[in-house]
Amino acid sequence: MTGRGKRETGKVLLEVKDLHATVEGKEILKGVHLTVRAGEVHAIMGPNGSGKSTLAQVLAGHPAYTVTAGQALYEGKDLLSMAPEARAREGVFLAFQYPVAIRGITNAYFLRAAVNAMRKHKGVEELGPVEFMDALEEKLKVIGWDSSYLSRPVNEGFSGGEKKRNEILQLAVLDPKLAILDETDSGLDIDAVKTVAQTVDKLRRPDNATVLVTHYYRILTHIQPDVVHVLAGGRIVKSGGKELALELEEKGYDWLREEVAVG
């Protein structure tokens, strides 16, 4: 179920077919279909509890979720059979809705460990602390941070906004092929939303794609999504262009529930 009238030029990066998933025995995803091509930005919107975060976490490999049916192909490979680290190394990145604090480990140490895990996987030489810091300086500028954040323990004592920015820093540093942003815009002030949007925009290339899971329209005023999907009741009930997001902003989600029920 891709967007109507889209230029379907890029190769398919992610193909989700009839995905069903449960958490603690409760079915949350009830047959999700989604096709994301290289070069695209998709927005997945929907009311609370519709399964947006579950979809994001299932794609990243969260151990608490069980896939009961369907499949997800990433570059033609079975994504769901891969360990979380294997997905990351292949270029899948999830910006967490609730980033996790790691005691004692500085951001710099953590980022370098992550980058080197990827480099090792690709057979590229790992970076030493000094080389890595040089490479990092640029990325920091992108999100408007100074290096003081690098010597602080990962997300520990960070404000909500700082945690979200830290996810975006990781996104910029790890440079994935498929980025899934799980409500990265929630809880941010308008300037921070803009920074997130601009960063995503800057990282946009013909060979990568972004899936923005969001509750709000406002981030979409800064990013032009190619496709907007509405996830409700564990299914994508409607897909369209950017105008769909605007329609949702004006009318809410209730009309869709009715439409689904009737149709």
Binding site: P84, L94, G104, A113, A114, P153
Partner: protein, 443 residues
């Protein structure tokens, strides 16, 4: 009195009758009082609240004899070097006795003294002599603890560090206690030594001291250590204590600090060794505006048992104490943390924080964590918290989602428990050295 305690009394009579006779009268008097107190107290049992997690039966039931002289051969200088942070000033003690050949007497700035207590007691005069007389055995509570009493009774030698008023020293001063007990041939069995350390910083002095305990011994022996540290008005002391006793070694230790007005003490405790270790730490904030960082790390495996009992005594207003203890426990190790904070009446504007986090790396590892707050003032800020648990699955998943293997992720999370403590250490060389030690242990 048990037969074992009787033996210590007999040994004390022999000890005070010969070599120790040269001590000044005031010290002899303290020793007599201490041995009498030991006889009254006897060794603690698990029925006592303060000892309910730790059995000292391996001490009370065994026959440890006093290590009189170092058993030959002495450790090699290169091996001692390995234990030290730098090539700076150091005093080395083997089985409790000062060994001049292994100590390095580099040129010290005027007003700095690091040497043996025996020498300071003999000279007896000058500001060093005054400091010894004023502070030795005046702080560590031999009236209350059988172990401190025993150490005090056998007090003959140890390390004395004195930094005179206003002297600022950057290089760390090192005190190294090495045990060779348990390896001697034809010896009378396991030995005990009673290392004693006295550190005195006069007003506005500043220094870094490293106190380390290590062993060139695979056998059973017992180290019964007592350290007293006095930090004068406006003085700043960073004191590191690194415990790497041998795999069958036992260490019982008391560290007692007293801080005067506007002083700063950072006390870093890193416990890696010993089969059985118990450390009683008491920090008295005895002058307004004093600040204390009590920063501890215990990394245990096998069947190691380590018990930290800490008391932070806010005796005066406007003092700050931040206490952090992290434990990483593998295999069948058992860690005990008991942290008591006392805020005395009138100690208003006290700012006290305590945390104890324990990481259990196996289902058989165990940690007991007990905070105890006794607050008798009303305008204070006191917080405490403790955690005990295995590797956090959410953290593990977060790291894996960034491409790290489960093994690498676990290793990072484990190291984080150590790194959090290491990060509070100020002296860069000492911190780097301890970081290496912690990494070797954890990864």
């Amino acid at each position: 009195m048990t037969a074992v305690a009787d033996r210590y009394l007999a040994e004390f009579r022999a000890f005070s009758g010969n070599g120790a006779g040269s001590a000044p009268a005031w010290l002899k008097e303290i020793r007599e009082g201490a041995i009498a107190r030991f006889a009254e107290l006897g060794f603690p049992t698990m029925k006592q609240e303060e000892w309910r997690f730790t059995s000292v039966a391996p001490i009370a039931d065994a026959a440890f004899t006093l290590a009189h002289t170092p058993r030959s051969p002495l450790p090699a200088a290169a091996d001692i070097e390995q234990l030290c942070v730098g090539a700076g000033p150091r005093v080395v003690f083997v089985d409790g006795r000062y060994v001049a050949e292994l100590s390095t007497a580099t040129t010290l700035p005027r007003g700095v003294r690091i040497g043996s207590l025996a020498a300071a007691l003999e000279s007896g005069s000058g500001s060093a002599g005054d400091a010894v007389r004023a502070h030795l055995a005046r702080h560590a509570p031999w009236q209350q603890s059988a172990f401190t009493a025993l150490n005090t009774a056998f007090l003959a030698d140890g390390a004395f560090v004195h930094v005179s008023a206003g002297v600022v020293l950057d290089r760390p001063l090192e005190v190294v206690y090495v045990a060779t007990g348990g390896v001697g041939t034809g010896g009378p069995g396991p030995t005990v030594s009673h290392p004693r350390t006295l550190i005195v910083l006069d007003s506005n002095a500043q220094a870094t001291v490293v106190e380390s305990y290590a062993a060139f011994a695979g056998g059973v022996y017992w180290t019964n250590a007592v350290t007293e540290a006095v930090v004068g008005n406006g003085a700043r002391l960073e004191l590191f204590r690194v415990q790497r006793e041998g795999p069958k070694g036992i260490q019982v230790a008391t560290t007692h600090s007293r801080q005067e007005r506007d002083s700063y003490l950072a006390l870093h405790l890193v416990s890696l060794g010993a089969a059985l270790a118990r450390h009683d730490v008491t920090n008295v904030l005895d002058g307004a505006g004093a600040e204390l960082i009590l920063n501890g790390l215990y990394l245990l495996g096998g069947a190691q048992h380590t018990d930290h009992h800490t008391v932070i005594d806010h005796a005066q207003p406007h003092c700050v104490s931040h206490e952090f203890f992290n434990g990483v426990l593998a295999e069948r190790a058992h860690g005990v943390f008991n942290g008591r904070i006392i805020v005395r009446p009138g100690a208003q504007r006290t700012d006290s924080k305590q945390t104890n986090n324990n990481l259990l790396l196996s289902t058989e590892a165990r940690a007991d964590s007990q905070p105890q707050l006794e607050i008798y003032a009303d305008d204070v800020k006191c917080t405490h918290g403790s955690t005990v648990g295995p590797i956090d699955q959410t953290q593990l998943y977060y790291l894996r989602s960034r491409g790290l293997s489960p093994e690498a992720a676990r290793s990072i999370l484990t190291y984080g428990f150590g790194a959090e403590i290491l990060d509070r250490m100020r002296h860069p060389d000492v911190r780097a050295r301890l970081d290496r030690l912690v990494r070797e242990r954890l990864t």
